[in-house]
């Protein structure tokens, strides 16, 4: 058993370090001999045992004696632990690749590959006006029964459906937005952007956006892009809205009239209500074909969610 463990360990280290390759070869020869029912005569087992014991003996004679006496049993224990941890590592790497977190989709526990948890950061819906949403788990996030018809949807030739619930004032929504655009472009996906005022009052921007779409159609997407990528403080200042509309040569009066209409205000209010039904607990929440991704994930996470076979 020690030979098997050594073979695995040195085999892996040997890929990177030439000095361990010989040990890997010795371990292989030892394992091969054992498989073919011959004694492992390379002295390899004792070599490794000697090295292990000499490290322990200087710390504790008692421990060294125990290890020496129960070496085979301990080897088995380590073997099982190693297989377990190897599986765990592979599963972590897989989850990190596909979900952006070693712990699984939208899990914020510690992940060695993303120690600061960047991929799971969200603007949580606090106890401000828009709240009242009970903290939910990822499993309760859903688009079922949510009426998205009043949101702007870009139809594309692809079959995938992307729904982005983002907030104009939130850094994480703004961070992920360029990736979303890239994703839509590459995958030719259908795309709905739903503004949710998770932080501060951005309802006026949602209302303006609704009206821009109503009046100018496709131009909405440029406007929306600006709201998410332009200078944040400038955009969030309500008094600058007209200047922004001016940049796009929109009819300021017309858009304002539309935004201030009770009809539009009701629609935008209802939109927020509908979004609450998704059980969101933070922005950005991105639904890809119904599956929710909370927080700004790396681009590959979204892409692999759309790929048939993870990588392609």
């Amino acid at each position: 058993m020690p030979c098997v463990i050594a073979l695995i360990i040195f085999g892996i280290i040997g890929i990177f370090s030439a000095s361990h390759r010989d040990l890997a070869k010795e371990a292989f020869s030892c394992v091969f001999k054992r498989i073919t029912l011959r004694p492992c005569d390379t002295g390899f087992k004792e070599k490794i045992k000697g090295k292990v014991l000499s490290k322990i003996i200087n710390r504790s004679t008692f421990l060294a004696r125990m290890v020496n006496r129960h070496y085979e049993v301990l080897s088995w224990v380590f073997f099982v632990l190693m297989i377990g941890s190897t599986f765990w590592v592979f599963s972590g790497v897989y989850k990190f690749y596909v979900y952006g977190s070693c712990n699984g989709l939208n899990q914020s526990g510690f992940c060695a590959f993303d120690p600061s948890g960047e991929n799971n950061k969200v603007t949580t819906l606090g106890d401000n006006s828009t709240c009242g949403i009970t903290p939910a788990t990822e499993s309760s996030l859903t688009l079922k029964g949510v009426d998205l018809s009043s949101f702007v949807r870009k139809t594309n030739i692809g079959k995938d459906e992307v729904v982005v619930i983002g907030c104009y004032a939130c850094d994480y929504s703004r961070k992920v937005y360029p990736d979303i655009l890239k994703l839509i472009e590459n995958k030719k996906a259908n795309y709905t952007f739903a503004s949710y005022p998770a932080k501060g009052d951005t309802t006026f921007l949602a209302e303006a956006g609704y009206c821009v779409n109503k009046i100018y159609g496709e131009k909405y997407w440029e406007f929306n892009k600006y709201l998410l990528e332009g200078e944040k403080d400038f955009i969030l200042d309500k008094s600058n809205l007209n200047k922004i509309l001016e940049i796009f040569n929109f009819d300021i009066k017309k858009v304002n009239e539309c935004s201030n209409s009770t009809e539009v205000k009701t629609i935008v209010e209802n939109q927020a209500k509908e979004l609450k039904k998704t059980n969101i607990y933070g922005t950005p929440t991105i639904f890809i074909n119904g599956k929710a991704f909370v927080g700004p994930k790396p681009y590959r996470v979204y892409r692999s969610a759309m790929n048939k076979y993870i990588f392609f």
Binding site: G43, L53, S54, R65
Partner: protein, 402 residues
Amino acid sequence: MLDVNKIREDFSVLNRRGSYIPIYFDSACMSLKPDQVVKVMDDYYKEGFACVGRSAHRSGVQATKKVKEVRGIVAKFINAKNENEIIFTRNTTESINLFANSVGLSKGDIVLITDKEHNSNLIPWLFLRDKIGIIVKIIPCNGDGTFSIDNFSEMISGAKIVSVVHTSNLDGVTNPIKEISQIAHKNGALIFVDGAQGMAHKKIDVRDLDIDFLAFSGHKMLGPTGTGVLYGKASLLEKLTPFMVGGNTVSNSTYTNYEFLGVPDKFEAGLQDYAGILGLGEAIKYLNNLDWEEIEEHELKLNTYLTEELKKISKIKIIGPENGAERSSVVNFYIEGVDMNKIAIMLDEMANVEVRSGRHCVHSWFEDKKIYNSLRVSFSIYNTMEEAEIFITNLNKIMKIL
């Protein structure tokens, strides 16, 4: 008293400041080399390297002269009658093979060896047994590993060759070569001595011991690897037929014929390790500057200390005589049921103590005695008492966990 500290200054490997310095207890396998030896070899390559005995240019003549000088140094070192009795080889093993294959044995000839011979003095004879049908007889040693003159005397009759080790690499016992050669000669046998181990530890006088042939290696006596010697009495060497032939062994050749050179040239086929030979000469000069009595006294002190300390550990069984004085510079021991490789590795890892574990190329003895393997401590002029103490301290530590 041997000035060990002064000697140690000559061995770079023991003075590598800031880096790994071994406590080297494996001199029976190979000794360390003093800087003087390394320098001579370095000089040969840097300054005067050329063919020996072939080229007439100045470098060639110079190199030829130097190698001839070393032949003389070796001859004097073992008290041979003249330098032509010295044949340069690669090592002891080659010397033994050269002798075994040149001495003209034929089917039914009897060769006597002891039961503790190194593979190099066992396999060549067994090989000839299988190839031409010689008879190999094994002289059993006494229970403590010492040579049994009685057993030998009983077996000598009819033997053509007696091939025995001088100092055993297994247990350090030095055989009574003078007595053995007397008995051998009285019975018309030739005596061949495997001198690999003893050369750096004891003075060997081939004339006093009346040895017919002697083999040894440079690398065990402070010299370079790849150098060995076969000594043979001139009159006997003349009768040997060369084993390896080719360039350097003939004075002339035609497409159908050749004329061998005389001794020793006809046994030294091909271009040799001249740098090594010069290094060997320097190693002998180094040994000549020391006092044999002091060397033996120093080694006795170390062996006695180690033996007494090991005797205190009940599980340890020393191979060979109990008395350290009878085991030259070797302390070889085993512990029943323990693979000594593990202990050797631990000593190395824990305290840089380098010892040899295994069967020391005497597999036959271990097989016969049903002992798995052993750990051998072998020392030389550069080892100190302090090193021996470190070895014992760490071994005691290890014993506690077994």
